[in-house]
Subunit: 217 residues, 2 copies
Amino acid sequence: MGKKSEAAKGSSRLPHAERRAQILEIASEFFSENGLTGQTRRLAEACGVSQRLVYRFFPTKEDLLAEVYREEILGAFKAGWFAELQDRSVPVEKRFCLFYQDYLETTLTRKWLRLFLYASLSDSSMAPDYIASIVTQLLDVLIREAAFDQHIELPKNRDVTNEMAWTLHGAISHYAIRRHLYKASMRVPEESVVAMHVRMFLAGLKPMVEAYQQEQL
Amino acid sequence: MGKKSEAAKGSSRLPHAERRAQILEIASEFFSENGLTGQTRRLAEACGVSQRLVYRFFPTKEDLLAEVYREEILGAFKAGWFAELQDRSVPVEKRFCLFYQDYLETTLTRKWLRLFLYASLSDSSMAPDYIASIVTQLLDVLIREAAFDQHIELPKNRDVTNEMAWTLHGAISHYAIRRHLYKASMRVPEESVVAMHVRMFLAGLKPMVEAYQQEQL
DNA sequence: ATTTCATGTCGTCAATTGACGACATAAAAT
DNA sequence: ATTTTATGTCGTCAATTGACGACATGAAAT
């Protein structure tokens, strides 16, 4: 045990950057569990420091929350995913399954989801931002790779193709919400669930495109 | 204009039941927008009555919230849906589309969704209850009707078939979350979206079943 | 007309909560 | 060793907030 382990939480003096990082880390966990209305005093308590100290690093609670979002929400996306998803030397089905298993483990965690939903429920523009800056690209890649694999001619309208890709992405996001928020007991192994979603999407894409064109009379 | 329209909100004396109903109605809207931490004073203000009066009808804020949930969350499901979904004189695809258009309009509203999520984020057992008491039955009906139509032999494990039905129900629920919470601009008409989801589910069900069986080696 | 009682308001209490000034102290610079 | 600076705490203020006692008032019963 190092010499740092005496108070476990965060007593002994820390350099600016470290303490700030520690508070941020604990704050993300804290607000994720207690909501954005969680008290700064409790947060400080969880950090093992005085409440006043928190205000040394973040002028207001708002600023702290903004920082948490930027760090935790936007920071949870791996850049490499885009490349892997487009690596056509691997079968699409496998690519999609691996990606979503990873995405579920890395991004769609309890902490991330709760923060994301709390933020969306307040009026923050965080969710739209996240979707615009990250998810939209992801949807494009998904639908393009799926269409290529299934030899499907896609509608030109990007809003429509996005909506199609959402059938997969939304379903899996909702699976995560069910698991982490609704406390559903997940009796079917995750890989099976992901595999079912992906298979269904790939096989159902062509019929879905036809359904859309049929609507356009 | 009737003689009641002078104060518009809720001044002039009302009989017990009416005032109670009015407070409940406004409270559901209020907490849906402002979260469960919304202040009783603001609520009273929105009702056009004194804060004290609210406590005449509900001993504590907790009790008021509990009543709102019971009324708004559980009360938003039409009993007739189960019958309509099983009316085999109508094509499944049409049945499913009509049901989900109705479900989106009646249940998956902004008010309902926000309440449901706020409640889920606190530790209330409301979401699990709702799922156990209503959604599970719905999932059973959906998968049974779809399998019958597509001449599919389903796995015996109910957890698995539920999970399969969730691919449709979850995707549409998530579509509603996107619309009402993430403030996504919905440029594709709702009927088209519903039609695409339903078509995809029906066409993808068999491949999904195969994917599951394939996993079970 | 007077009594009765439910409907409704005012004012207030005690706990909470974001924010910050004043002070203490450890570490680094001189 | 002494000065300097940044790290950290204590106590407190003002606004908020759930809850409620005491009082007012309109309608219905006698």
